[in-house]
């Protein structure tokens, strides 16, 4: 090192060589334009397409995540016995009412495999929830979304890409609002 630094010309030659090598490697390893941003597999991670699912709802219909493409979707995994879920659900309802005309949808996936449909219904009535309550009876969606803590919330953009994940809660109203606002502002 000392030998190299003794002579400024030697050092500049080394610097140029290193920078050229780095630039060459960067060029060699660039992402082909045809591949960039495409071909990602669905996964419950930020930047990935949200894994699709179809579940029965509390009112006897079915709901499919991909059917909401073009809208901003909050996928909230919850249970009636979970304290933080109780704490944040009124804020989600308020947010939904304020923004559904702008293209916000909420899919509240109840972990029915570790809850009960009766309790889920009572919960929805108590808090006056007007968005679809989905019943994950066998836990398949919870597993697909790698559920680690309740509640878990996934913010999905209009193209079906997960843009933010919140594990645990309760989330403050301001946090919910800002996460949704940034997605709603982006054009479809």
């Amino acid at each position: 090192m000392g030998w190299l630094m003794e002579d400024a010309r030697r050092w500049w030659a080394l610097t140029s060589m290193i920078v050229l090598l780095a630039a060459g490697w960067t060029w060699f390893s660039r992402v082909p334009v045809s591949v960039a941003g495409a071909g990602q597999i669905p996964s419950p991670r930020e930047g990935f397409p949200a894994p699709d699912f179809t579940l029965d709802t509390l009112d006897g219909a079915t709901a499919t995540l991909s059917a909401f493409r073009g809208q901003v979707v909050i996928v909230n995994l919850w249970a009636s016995w979970c304290g933080p879920c109780r704490a944040e659900m009124p804020a989600i309802q308020e947010l939904y009412v304020a923004n559904r005309q702008r293209g916000l949808a909420v899919l509240a996936v109840n972990g029915t495999f570790q809850d009960s449909q009766t309790d889920a219904r009572a919960f929805a009535q108590k808090y006056g929830l007007t968005f679809p309550i989905l019943l994950d009876r066998d836990g398949a969606v919870s597993r697909r979304y790698l559920l680690r803590a309740l509640p878990s919330t996934f913010f999905v953009d209009r193209r079906g890409i997960i843009r933010s994940v919140a594990v645990g809660g309760p989330m403050r109203e301001a946090v919910l609002q800002t996460q949704v606002e940034s997605l709603l502002q982006k054009p479809p």
Partner: protein, 243 residues
């Protein structure tokens, strides 16, 4: 991947824990290095601390400023423990500005201070790699290799392991050369230059790169710029002490 450490009813987020340990260890090493460099160790420790805290608060306030009406309606949201509601770029600038102001007010010598902070930077790089390893973030590109790991429904480069090995290597180089710096500021430039070089090389194996025009990876382009600046500064600062 090991994102949560469950101890009874307590669920500890391992990535956050790794970063906290990194900050603690980095600050401790900085304090020792400051003493070795005959600096006011407490002042350098405080500078790092002021930079970190100002950066964190600045990142949250900058984020809140973007969505002012939401935070005016719910001011307690400012205290939410949610990393998604931080503005990292603005936070870094504010933290850096606070550290510079603190350093100027306490008349800390720039190059020696940077050298004292070099181990903190190297240790934080190790901590970030460990955080990535535990959370599965900064994941690798899909690849079928004997050492590939199965992550997020795909066999991938173990990019977090590569990152960890590189960060440990940089820390090792710093450890071996400390006390043998040819000029003030050399240690910090060396640590930053090696880290930038590692990023340029390893980014090629990432599956989540931010891609800019022409398919170039932003982190590699930024890494080359940092590397060039460090090598240029090394030459310039060396010339200043060479007769």
């Amino acid at each position: 991947m090991f994102p949560i450490l469950q101890i009874g009813l307590l669920a500890i987020q391992v990535p956050g824990l790794a970063l906290l340990i990194g900050v603690w260890l980095g600050l401790s090493l900085t304090e020792k290095e400051s003493a070795r460099l005959q600096m006011d160790a407490e002042a350098v420790y405080r500078l790092a601390f002021v930079g970190l805290i100002s950066g964190l608060i600045g990142a949250r306030l900058a984020y809140a400023a973007r969505y002012l009406s939401s935070y005016v309606a719910d001011p307690l949201g400012l205290f939410s423990l949610n990393a998604a509601t931080l503005a990292p770029g603005e936070g870094m600038l504010i933290g850096l500005a606070a550290a510079v102001i603190y350093g100027a007010r306490h008349k800390l010598r720039l190059r020696t201070t940077l050298d004292a902070l070099a181990p903190a930077f190297a240790v934080m790089a190790v901590a970030v790699a460990l955080a990535h390893l535990s959370s599965g973030d900064a994941f690798g590109a899909a690849a079928r290799l004997p050492w590939s790991i199965y992550l997020w429904d795909e066999y991938r480069h173990p990019s977090q392991v590569y990152e960890l090995i590189a960060a440990l290597g940089v820390l090792g180089v710093w450890w071996r050369q400390r006390g043998r710096s040819p000029f003030g500021g050399f240690s910090s430039l060396l640590v930053v230059a090696l880290s930038a070089a590692a990023r340029v090389f390893l980014e090629a194996f990432r599956g989540d790169s931010l891609v800019i025009a022409g398919g170039w990876r932003a982190a590699q382009v930024g890494g080359i710029a940092v590397l060039a600046v460090c090598l240029g500064l090394m030459n310039r600062w060396n010339q200043e002490v060479t007769p």
